[in-house]
């Protein structure tokens, strides 16, 4: 449970930051920023999360081995939680970027013009006019993306499973009860995921109420 929450919390923070920057990046007039954001969104949305996670865990480890460990004689291992958080944040960040972009797009052009004509600079317009409105509009779709982080974190199981398999093999060699240990672990994880999904639904419901009363 601790690990799941840990992964969830960090992925949430990173993907929110990524999503907001990327959403802003996709709506600016600066061409290279826009190209970068579009590239990021398209790449990470069109590759299965499973593949990204395995890439971040196993693929990256080989790069680290070749680039750092072998020449320097170190033994740096990428922790599976790190790979998980990396992949989940990048994946969810791309989706959140799209949500933020549509939020910013929904602010009428007239507001930009009004802000400029009343003497606000570009940065001031973003900070005082556009973002406060856009970020409130996107709360409901964002909440469902947050829920998706929890659901998608189940995929983290697949890169942790090699450890679990490894240990259950060890246990089996010693006690011949590996299957039981493995099943217990899986069931526990399953229960926790469902609990977390329930909790997020609750939060989403509360958020939904709040948004409605505020509007």
């Amino acid at each position: 449970m601790g690990t799941t929450l840990y992964i969830f919390a960090w992925s949430l923070v990173f993907s929110l930051v990524l999503g907001i920057f990327c959403g802003i990046g996709r709506t600016t007039n600066v061409r290279w920023v826009r190209a970068l954001s579009v590239g990021y969104v398209e790449i990470f949305r069109n590759i299965p999360l499973l593949v990204q996670m395995w890439w971040a865990y196993f693929g990256l480890q080989q790069v680290v081995n070749a680039a750092i460990n072998d020449p320097l004689g170190l033994r740096i291992l990428i922790p599976s939680t790190f790979a998980c958080i990396l992949a989940l944040s990048l994946y969810t960040g791309a989706y959140m970027g799209e949500v933020v972009r549509s939020g910013i797009r929904s602010i009428p052009r007239g507001q930009w013009e009004a802000a400029t004509s009343s003497g606000l600079s570009r940065a001031q317009t973003w900070r005082h006019v556009v973002l406060p409105q856009a970020l409130v509009i996107v709360i409901p779709p964002m909440a469902s993306e947050v829920l998706n982080i929890i659901k998608n974190s189940a995929i983290a199981m697949t890169i942790a499973i090699t450890d679990l398999m490894f240990y259950s093999q060890k246990i089996e060699e010693e006690t011949f009860a590996g299957f039981e240990a493995y099943t217990a672990g899986t069931l526990l994880f399953l229960l926790l995921t469902l609990l977390a999904v329930g909790a997020i639904y609750l939060v989403q419901w509360l958020l939904g109420l709040k948004v409605r009363t505020a509007g």
């Binding site: 398209e42 790449i43 949305r45 069109n46 590759i47 299965p48 999360l49 499973l50 593949v51 990204q52 395995w54 890439w55 196993f58 693929g59 990256l60 480890q61 080989q62 790069v63 081995n65 070749a66 072998d70 020449p71 994946y91 969810t92 989706y95 799209e98 949500v99 549509s102 779709p141 469902s144 993306e145 998706n148 659901k151 998608n152 189940a154 995929i155 199981m157 697949t158 899986t186 399953l190 995921t193 469902l194 999904v197 639904y201």
Partner: protein
């Protein structure tokens, strides 16, 4: 020192990758068809005016949508024996699970599409003497489908990405083929980069299609990260 730059394993195992990709495509096509059958039935039920049809359908869809796809595949595979008394093969378990899981998301698309057609048009259809099938077939569906088209494509991309989850119950589809090659050659960087690139090309070209269909007012957006 061992290099991570081992691209030679890709051409050497190309036949194996190709067989995995064929299986991925087969799962995708079968699950895609089933997914939209499921979606149309449940979307129509959720859109129905009768509460005894609407609420059970809503419950089914919401419960499935609240479950991670990976868990769903594992459940269908391991619970098929106690539940329906017949042990599904990994392949069919994956097809059924993906079909029902993505079908629940797709049902939401269908429902949104049906509600995007103004109620007045349905009422007008009935008042000119058309029956349910005619109102649906001639008035609601043609308009709903046009609004749904980009979301349908997005769902298909999601389904294609999710076929990789079938690897967890031992179906040797494209991703599992990759993990097997990696286990043999110890070339995770090259293998997983190759796999990611192939998935990207497939999904990106599909989602381009969606973008060409979309980009006009009234269209339903569906950007769920599942």
């Amino acid at each position: 020192m061992e290099s991570f730059w081992k691209w030679h394993v890709i051409p050497e195992n190309l036949g194996f990758f190709a067989s995995g990709f064929r299986l991925t495509l087969t799962i995708f096509v079968l699950a895609w068809v089933g997914c939209w059958v499921f979606a149309v039935i449940f979307g129509a039920l959720r859109h129905s005016a009768r509460p005894w049809l609407r609420y059970p359908a809503a419950a089914v869809v919401e419960i499935i949508r609240g479950t991670p796809g990976l868990m769903f595949i594992v459940w269908v595979y391991f619970l098929s024996q106690p539940l329906i008394g017949y042990a599904l093969s990994p392949f069919w378990a994956a097809v059924w699970a993906l079909m029902i899981h993505q079908g629940a998301y797709a049902a939401e698309v269908v429902r949104a599409g049906l509600s995007s057609v103004p109620r007045g048009q349905v009422a007008a259809g009935y008042s000119t003497g058309l029956g349910y099938v005619e109102v649906m077939g001639f008035i609601v569906l043609p308009q709903a489908l046009r609004n749904m088209a980009p979301a349908v494509v997005n769902r298909s991309v999601a389904l294609f990405k999710n076929t990789s989850l079938a690897f967890v119950i031992g179906v040797i589809e494209f991703f599992r083929a990759g993990t097997i090659v990696n286990g043999r050659e110890n070339a995770s960087f090259s293998v997983f980069t190759f796999i990611a690139a192939v998935y990207f090309v497939c999904c990106f070209s599909l989602s381009r299609l969606g973008n060409r269909l979309g980009q006009r007012p009234g269209v339903i957006e569906d950007t769920t990260a599942v």
